[in-house]
């Protein structure tokens, strides 16, 4: 008889394997509804006791009901041993359910083992933990990775654009999140526009990639050369500018350049987009490399998400960095302290930001110390402009990259390998080590610089 099968099974579990058989464990193991499992257990107990009254069998029951306490009714659910069952039932005003919770050979001193049994079996069945439950929820269908990615980009683009415009137009006042979800992205104004164009095009590329579900390494590889190319281009001066314009969404950069604050001197858009573009190149690279290293449960989904996330996120981060470069307060203090723009962003970009910043500066000094023909200098210049909001004139010291010439095979090559980082705790050392390396690089570079200048001084004499 089929019914006998489960009896035998339970018998085997309890007596032979000496297990603690909870209703949930039985339900998963035999693949039956939880209520059936409870009934099976009860049936087994009854029969076993009829056959052999001296059976070594201890049962725990679940009792639930109403309890009158301090004048109000309280619903109580309790797991009790068999000997306490009647006592508990008598305490309750009304009893709504009684059923077998578990059967085991040995007497349980406390309920720890019950929990462990359930924990193990649940862990093994996490993906369908409601399969044998008595309640079905229609909404609880896990999203597929593609849906998740879509939902996230939607949320990101819609929530980003209002905050973008607000970031550019008014300083963040209330810090309230965006209230309206806008589907269309408004072209952000000013220098930020350069980013948006660059990053938008990158984001579009990145969007296509995950949807095609290419291996992340492939996408990383493909973007790497393009990013590298950008860095190379940067050091070609005006030639680079033209190339960049071609690369990015046509027409938009020009619009945005015109829309640049009139107060900003004309020279700035020329040189700063170079640095700006360099940064997106730099950023997308490490972002992509980072994804290769990242290990998460839903690898592909997370990676594809991260790619999409990185772009607009980097865009934002870059924006913030530029804003801080222009502000009076010191760079290094602000960047680590700058709060993440949206909570949902992965924690990696903040460590990315200061590290990258640290890299950029020594990197450029390194490059200049290379003593090659074409140099790229970062020069501290004072910029003066009228701040419309406050109605005052602001003089700021800004690092400008003057691109004289171009050197950079080493430069480009050394940067990417040094960059990969992970937000994970054990690996946090890496950025610090890198920073140390950078500092070393900077130190040697500066030393080299000094040496050259000292020599130059001697030579002049």
């Amino acid at each position: 008889m089929e019914d006998e099968l489960y009896l035998e099974n339970i018998d085997e579990f309890v007596t032979d394997q000496n297990r603690i058989v909870t209703y949930k464990w039985l339900s998963y193991t035999l693949g039956v509804h939880v209520n059936q499992a409870k009934q099976m257990l009860y049936d087994y107990v009854e029969r076993k006791r009829k056959e052999n009254s001296g059976a070594q069998l201890h049962v725990t029951y679940l009792v639930a009901g109403n309890l009158i306490q301090n004048g109000h009714t309280c619903h109580k659910v309790a797991v009790v041993r068999e000997d306490k069952l009647e006592a508990m039932k008598s305490k309750l005003a009304t009893v709504t359910s009684v059923h077998v919770y578990s059967i085991q050979k040995a007497l349980l001193k406390d309920s720890g083992p019950l929990y462990n049994t359930d924990y193990d079996i649940i862990k093994a069945n996490l993906h369908n933990c409601s399969k044998f439950s008595a309640i079905r929820c229609a909404d609880a269908v896990p999203r597929t990775p593609a849906e998740v990615a879509q939902a996230r980009t939607l949320a990101r683009s819609s929530s980003q654009t209002p905050s973008d415009t607000s970031a550019v137009s008014t300083p963040p006042l209330n810090g309230h999140g965006p209230t309206a979800a806008k589907q269309s992205s408004q072209p952000p104004k000013g220098i930020m526009g350069m980013f948006a164009a660059k990053a938008a095009s990158k984001a579009q590329d990145a969007n296509k990639e995950p949807k095609a579900k290419e291996a992340p390494s492939v996408s990383a590889a493909s973007s790497k050369p393009s990013a590298k190319g950008n860095i190379m281009n940067n050091f070609f001066g005006k030639a680079a500018m033209n190339k960049l314009k071609v690369n990015s969404v046509p027409g938009q950069p020009k619009e945005e350049k015109e829309a640049v604050k009139t107060s900003v001197p004309a020279t700035e858009p020329e040189s700063s987009p170079n640095s700006i573009v360099e940064k997106p190149g730099r950023k997308t690279e490490p972002a992509k490399i980072q994804q290769k290293d990242k290990k998460s449960k839903m690898k592909r989904m997370d990676k594809s998400d991260n790619e999409e996330e990185r772009e607009p996120e980097n865009q934002k981060k870059k924006r913030k960095r530029i804003k801080q470069l222009e502000s009076d307060s010191s760079d290094e203090e602000d960047v680590p302290a700058s709060p993440t723009l949206e909570e949902e962003k992965a924690p990696s970009p903040p460590p990315l930001v200061p590290a990258l910043k640290a890299e950029l500066e020594p990197a450029s000094t390194e490059a200049s110390a290379g003593g090659k023909k074409r140099k790229r200098k970062r020069v501290l210049k004072s910029k003066m402009f009228v701040d419309e909001e406050e109605g005052c004139m602001v003089t700021e010291k800004v690092y400008e990259s003057e691109s004289c010439t171009d050197s950079e095979d080493d430069f480009a090559k050394t940067k990417p390998p040094a960059v990969p980082k992970q937000p994970a705790l054990p690996v946090k050392k890496e950025p610090k080590e890198e920073r140390k390396n950078q500092k070393k690089g900077a130190a040697t570079a500066s030393r080299a610089n000094k040496q050259i200048s000292i020599m130059g001084f001697c030579q002049k004499k």
Partner: protein
């Protein structure tokens, strides 16, 4: 009531297996998130908190004027509104011990507005008021420069939204203080029982069909236990702590598994609390979904802010994870969490002690903690024990006040019936090594 369902006759689980047992469908839930004011987008901390107080004063003034006129007639000249409280302490160089309460009989009350401040005396109790509360006082100024108070009043309950609750029984489970990662396994089985009861695995058919009426679960903070907050790694040498993992990592994994079980069966809203991995200042932002990879695949999981406001099936819920109430508890003589909850409702402000003694974001143009609409259910998490009360306002507002107990300590959660705004505690107990303590109901 949840357990008003009597067991279906003839269908007992103490019997041989019957034919295909029924499965119940979870009742659908109509949900709208109203916690937008508590979400922070870009944040700048370069402002002072004076703006927050100024805004608070500005926003609450009209309502207070209205109340004052109602009570004391039209001839009253309104002058001041914000209120401060000074604590007279000796200047010691000894580090202050952390006390349960920071109230002293020698505390003085100072009333302050945009321009000036004045000391208050008279029929007003300093120990029952906290810094940051906005109120109106009625009295006159004495020769010594102090203001003699005859009466004072608060903004009272704001107007309530029209009632659109369900007509059939529908429940929302409120739980808080799961306290995972505490290292002690006692509350773990209790938590498992809670999850099983809600997902319909536990109990007889009658109970399961009732559990199917739970349309939503709200976890109000402190999902992780305080012991995950150890800061040892800050003080120890680096070489000792290199390979150690933060205690919260393991706890969050456990949380993820529990949430996965819940989410596969019921919509869940997760609010962060004092010990959870999110920002410290109020409003706390939602937990990041990257910490919960398994459960965030389900659309039923909602990670929300603290404080949290939402319309569930037409019933407006508003509540916090308890930091605001426990802060007021520390700085006033009020002892009862429910009493404090009621007081904040009457004062028209969720957390008046922010930013003074409770960390808060420096808002500029608005203060999202001011109560503009009266909620139907107003709760606070991590209370020492379960308490609930149905409050009726002057304009006929009905508010259910619920102090949700910390589950790790009390093994009790709350079931709110949306149809009639009633609340029932549900407690779980397991047997332990001591036989006698089983008999005690989870208190």
């Amino acid at each position: 009531m949840f357990s008003a369902v009597t067991p279906l006759p003839g269908r007992t689980l103490l019997g041989p297996p019957s034919a295909e047992p029924p499965t119940f469908a979870r009742t659908g839930s109509d949900f709208a998130d109203r916690s937008q004011p508590f979400r922070l987008g870009e944040r700048s901390f370069s402002r002072q908190y004076a703006h927050l107080y100024a805004t608070r004063l500005l926003c609450m003034r009209p309502r207070l004027e209205q109340q004052a006129r109602l009570r004391w007639g039209d001839g009253v000249l309104l002058r001041k509104l914000c209120q401060l409280q000074e604590i007279n302490e000796e200047h010691n160089l000894v580090p202050q011990p952390s006390l349960a309460k920071y109230v002293d009989p020698s505390d003085e009350l100072v009333l302050e507005d945009e321009l000036q401040r004045i000391k208050l005396t008279g029929s007003i109790e300093a120990s029952r008021l906290v810094t940051g509360a906005v109120l109106a006082v009625y009295g006159h100024e004495q020769e010594d420069g102090k203001f003699l108070v005859e009466e004072h009043c608060f903004a009272h309950l704001p107007p309530q939204l029209p009632w659109q609750g369900p007509s059939t029984d529908r429940f929302v489970l409120l739980a808080s203080g799961l306290g995972l990662g505490s290292g002690s396994g006692e509350s773990l089985l209790g938590t498992q029982l809670l999850v099983d009861a809600v997902t319909g695995q536990l109990g007889a058919e009658g109970q399961q069909s009732c559990a199917a009426l739970i349309s939503r679960v709200l976890l109000a903070g402190n999902l992780l236990s305080q012991s995950t907050q150890s800061r040892d790694s800050l003080h120890k040498a680096k070489y000792l702590t290199k390979k150690t993992q933060a205690a919260s990592v393991e706890a969050v994994k456990m949380l993820d598994e529990i949430l996965l079980q819940l989410c596969s069966s019921v919509p869940v809203d997760v609010m962060p609390g004092e010990f959870d991995p999110t920002n410290y200042t109020l409003p706390q932002q939602p937990l990041h979904r990257c910490m919960l990879p398994l459960s965030s695949a389900y659309p039923t999981l909602q990670l929300v802010t603290n404080p949290y406001q939402a319309d569930m099936d037409g019933v407006r819920f508003l509540g916090t994870s308890g930091q605001n109430i426990s802060d007021i508890f520390k700085y006033s003589s009020m002892d009862d969490y429910l009493e404090i909850l009621e007081w904040t409702l009457l004062a028209g402000h969720i957390s008046p002690t922010a930013p003074d003694t409770l960390g808060c974001y420096p808002f500029y143009n608005s203060d999202p903690f001011i109560l503009t609409d009266c909620p139907h259910v107003y709760f606070c998490g991590n209370a020492p024990k379960f308490q609930s009360k149905l409050l009726t306002g002057e304009d006929g507002q009905r508010v259910l006040l619920v102090a949700v107990p910390a589950f790790s300590a009390t093994q009790t959660a709350c079931l709110v019936n949306l149809r009639d705004l009633s609340c029932q505690p549900i407690s779980f107990s397991v047997f332990g090594a001591e036989d006698d303590s089983d008999m005690e109901v989870g208190q």
